[in-house]
Amino acid sequence: MTVLFGIFLLTLLVITAVAIVRTRNLFVAVMLLGIFSLLIAINFFVLDAADVALTEAAVGAGISTVLFLGALALTTERERLGTQYRWLSLIIVTSATLVVLYATFDKPRFGDPEAPVHQHVAPWYLEKTPEYIDVPNVVTAVLASFRGYDTLGEVFVVFTAGIGVMFLLSAHGSGAGRREQEASGIGLREHLIPRVVGRLLVPFILLFGLYVQFHGDFGPGGGFQAGALIAAAFILYALIEGEDRTLAALPQSGLNALMVCGALLYGGVGLAGIVLGSNFLDYSVLAADPVAGQHLGIILIEAGVGMTVTGVLLSIFHAFAARDRA
C-alpha cells in the first residue's frame, strides 16, 4: 500500500514538473509550482521527514507562490519566445539523465540501515541527544546545537538575501517609482468570502506559528518553520486588507529590527558561550546545569532564527508589493 502510494505521488510529481516546463503561461506555471511543492511536501512526510515537510509546505506552497506572482505582476505573464536550441538541449539533457539514471544503480538500497549515510555521525546524534541535550526532537537538537555553526551561516545567508532584495527593489529605477498609496491599499477588501474566511484564518495561523516556534524542541517545528508560517499569516492579511494596513500593523522599521535583532541574538548567544569560558555556540555554560543551558540556548537561537526569517520574508514581500508597474 505504501509502495503504491509512494509511486503514485512520485509519478504525479513528474507529471506536474513536465506541465510546468511545457506551459507558456507563466501564471499557470507558478500555480503548478505551488502544487508541486505541496506534493513534494507529502512525499517528505511519507519519508519520515516531518520537519522538512512542514517547512516545504509553508515556504514552497505558500510564500514562494506569492513571491513569484509578485514578480509576474511586475514583469509579464506570458513567455513570448518559447525555447532556444530545442533539439540540442534535449540531446544534452537526455544524455545527462541517462548518466544519472545509470549512477542510481550504484546507490545503496532504499531504506537500508547499513547505507554509508547512516554510519558516520547520525547514530551518534541519535544516541547522545537524550544525554547531552535532552530534547525529544533530534532534528532540532542537531540543527540548533550540534550543528549550530551551519545554522548560523544559513541565517546570515537568509539575512543577506533579504538585504539584497531590498537594495534591488527599493532603489528608484528609470521612470519607475514607488506605487501611489491609494492604488496599493485596495487588496481584496470588496470580496466578501475571501475577506471573512481570511480574517478568521489569520489569528489561527499566527497562533500555530507561535506554537511551532516554541514547541519545536518537542515536536516537528522550530524557527525556520515558524518564521515562514508567521510571514505567511501577514502576507494573507496583506492580500485581503491591502498593504497599508499590514504595514500599519507591522511597519518596515519593525521588520528591519526583527531581521537584525534575530541575527544578532543568534550571534550574541554564541559569543556568550565564549564570555562564559567555553567555545563559540556552546550552550552548556549558559546555565549552572549543562542540559538546562542547552535548553536555554536552543530556545534563544530558535527565537533568533524565527525573527530573522519572519523579517526577511515579509520585507521581501513588501519590496515586491511596493514596486511600481514599470
Partner: protein, 118 residues
C-alpha cells in the same frame, strides 16, 4: 521496497533534468528561475530519500518506545535549512529579473542580448 527505492532515485534524476532543461532551453528569465526551483527540489528529494530507514519513524524521541528505529536526522536538518535559504535566493533572483524588466523592457534573453549589442 526495492522497486520503490529505485523509483525514488529515478524520479530524482528525471526532475533534476526537467529543471535543467528549463534553465538551458527556456528564453524567459522567470521560467529559468522556475527551472532552478525544480532542480533544487529534486536535490531535496534525493537527500530525504537517503535519510529514510526501513521500518523507521520520524526522529522524535518518545517515552515508552520499544527498540525504536529512527530515520536519519542529519539530511533532514540540511534540507530544512536549505529550503528557507532556497526561497531567499530565489527571491533575490526575482528581484534582479524585475530590475532587468524595468531597464530593458523585456525578460526574454534574446531581446536583452540584442539590446546589449546595440
Amino acid at each position: 521496497m526495492e522497486l520503490l527505492g529505485l523509483y525514488h532515485y529515478w524520479v530524482f534524476a528525471v526532475l533534476l533534468m526537467i529543471g535543467f532543461y528549463a534553465v538551458v532551453a527556456k528564453v524567459n528569465l522567470v521560467k529559468k528561475l522556475i527551472g532552478v526551483s525544480l532542480f533544487q527540489s529534486a536535490v531535496f528529494l534525493l537527500y530525504i530519500t537517503m535519510s529514510k530507514v526501513t521500518g523507521g519513524t520520524a526522529p522524535i524521541l518518545q517515552d515508552g518506545m520499544v527498540d525504536p528505529v529512527f530515520s536519519n536526522p542529519l539530511p533532514q536538518v540540511l534540507i530544512l535549512t536549505a529550503i528557507v535559504v532556497g526561497i531567499s535566493t530565489t527571491a533575490l533572483g526575482l528581484g534582479i529579473v524585475v530590475r532587468i524588466k524595468e531597464e530593458y523592457g523585456t525578460i526574454e534573453e534574446h531581446e536583452i542580448q540584442a539590446t546589449d549589442r546595440r
